[in-house]
């Protein structure tokens, strides 16, 4: 880890804080009735998305999910245009047509945010096949959760990527809950990475609260994919601190369990690493928080002031 530059580590920290603040802001504007629809907070999983996405190049493409604010920010997307999207504004990345669950920034390397669980995996397989056929060395990185590992998408996609040795890193963020269902009630094994064995590909399990560990594991998997070594199943062990969506009643778990998990807060944990190894002082980190909070205020202002899509364009973007 000591080989990482201070700039890189601070950028990781900045993006983790940006995700946290974006989610807190999104939940706030949702609860205040400023936006409609729904918001699926990524709080508690910041180290996973940032550790993976910062191990990627801009021409490596991610496939997101309904819970992909974090993946977009981790890949470098602009929070103001993301905020405009969840406000349903023309200035949003998807011109207000997608909303929270479908924020997609092609400019920073995305295939889409697909809100049917597991559905991004086959699409990433195809992108990787395309890369291979075009002679490119890009990598496709689909995200899903523990729930996604029970879908047919997961089985078919891992199998196809494995037989064709495609450059895919399948990232399973084990946040422990598929809506209300604890993962051990849906899966008969404790270690989800063990599923890789059935496809003859490496399965790697990593502490998803530790951004440096995620970054290292993702980097290794990406390198293997890029150099023709085929796909990897990377499982990041994290926890969904908030409900499935903002305001979800969470009747299926104890507050004590959630409070215990809050102790592993990936941002606080990384802050301790950064101050201890001399990368930054507590004051410098605090300044990042201030800077990002100001960024979010500006993002909300931008989103609120941006125009809605013109109703006369309702039939645009259905066919190319």
């Amino acid at each position: 880890m000591t080989t990482l530059s201070n700039d890189l580590k601070l950028e990781m920290y900045r993006r983790m804080v940006r995700i946290r603040e974006f989610e807190l802001t999104a939940m706030d504007v949702f609860k205040r009735g400023l936006i409609k629809g729904t918001v699926h907070p990524y709080i508690g999983e910041e180290a996973s998305g940032v550790g993976v996405c910062m191990a990627l190049r801009s021409d490596d493409l991610i496939a997101g999910t309904h819970r992909s604010h974090g993946h977009n920010i981790a890949k470098g997307a602009d929070p103001a245009r993301m905020m405009a999207e969840i406000f349903g504004k023309e200035a949003g990345y998807c011109r207000g047509r997608g909303g929270s669950m479908h924020i997609t920034a092609f400019e920073t390397g995305s295939l889409g945010a697909l809100a049917v669980v597991g559905s991004g995996l086959p699409i990433a397989v195809g992108a990787a096949l395309g890369f291979l056929m075009q002679g490119k060395d890009s990598v496709a990185v689909p995200f899903t959760g523990d729930g996604g590992t029970s879908t047919g998408n997961f089985h078919e996609a891992l199998n196809m990527a494995a037989i064709w040795k495609l450059p895919v890193v399948f990232v399973v963020e084990n946040n422990k809950y598929a809506v209300s269902t604890y993962y051990r009630d849906a899966v008969s094994i404790e270690d989800l990475s063990a599923r890789a064995a059935g496809y003859g590909i490496p399965g790697v399990r990593v502490d998803g609260f530790d951004v440096l560990k995620v970054y290292a594991a993702a980097g290794e998997a990406v390198e293997r994919a890029r150099s023709g070594g085929g796909p990897t199943l990377l499982v990041t062990e994290c926890y969904r601190i908030e409900g499935h969506y903002a305001g979800e009643p969470e009747v299926y778990r104890d507050r004590a369990e959630v409070n215990e998990q809050r102790q592993y807060d990936p941002i606080r944990r990384f802050a301790a690493v950064l101050t201890q190894d001399g990368t930054a002082t507590a004051e410098q980190l605090e300044a990042i928080h201030q800077e990002i909070q100001a960024e979010m205020s500006a993002a909300v202002e931008f989103a609120q002031n941006a125009p809605m899509p013109d109703p006369s364009t309702a039939l645009d973007y259905i066919y190319a």
Binding site: C94, G98, T104, L111, S119, P122, V125, G126
Partner: protein, 358 residues
Amino acid sequence: MTNLTRDAVSLGAKAPVMPPDLIVQIPAGVPAKEMTMAEAIREALAEEMERDPRVFLLGEDIGKHGGAFGVTRTLFDRFGAERVRNTPISENTIIGAATGAALVGMRPVAEIMFVDFSGLAMDQIANQAAKLRLMTGGQAKVPWVLRMPQGGGAGKSTAAQHSQSLEVWYAHIPGLKVALPSTPYDAKGLMKTAIRDDNPVIFLEHKLLYSFRGLVPEQDYSLPFGKCDIKRLGSDVTIIASGYMVWHAMLAARTLEQEGISVEVVDVRTVSPLDEETIGASVRKTGRALVVAEACRSYGPTGEWAMVVMEQAFDYLKAPIRRLAGRFSPVPFADSLENGMWPDTEDVIAAARDLMQY
């Protein structure tokens, strides 16, 4: 699958043969070759693969085996395993992979062995490929073609899970286009357009039509989507049909002509987008409309076409709109039950005669 495949192909050879001169599409003097619809589709695929290195094929058993109906036969030897890509039995990921490859600039042509199996891929077709363009505000385009054999018919006897006509499943989804050719000429020309189109295209191939022969121009050509094709001009009754039903309509028209009834046949060769103008113009001219489809009657294509007639030509109607459609039933195996499942030439003749009573 192997036995079924062999059966399907051999039964296809025993399919009722329509007089090939029923549909004439190439003017005399235009250099043309006679070929089956399967060959016409294969030729379109091969020419597009030659023309554009981004075009590739993927699907179950499409390699050496050539697909369940032999459409891709010889292409594996010609283009290799990279571009004629045999897949595992994973319908959803065949389509998902086509979508992902299309998103990064390839132009995949996927095959699902029978349209009946496409339910396994429905999320990737209807939720992902069809919606990505709108969901991303126009950032994404998904130029793929999904080829699927469909349909049943006398002597096929492939029962409930290999005989359906499902064009409306897909025509109902905004973002998709749907083609259902009735002749080798249409199949080749529409396939070329489908491959060059920047949207996901569902290309439905009627199994009975694979062995039908017809003339195909030697020169490169393509046919437009969103346009019906008038297969026969007439003045008394408009028959609106697609796929195999076009042939019943054409054969019926020949008999009816001898009775002094002049039939116009409008072939809805692209089910979506639907060419409402041509349907409307024809019925405004004839004043009588008969809609014929192999797909099930309830909520089927005939209901949609009839409504188009109401919207476009109500004031011109001399008679109520009549419809002929597949029985609302899973397809049974036994001949005694399968017979009568779908409209045939006699049904069309009788319905047209009825319409002339008004």
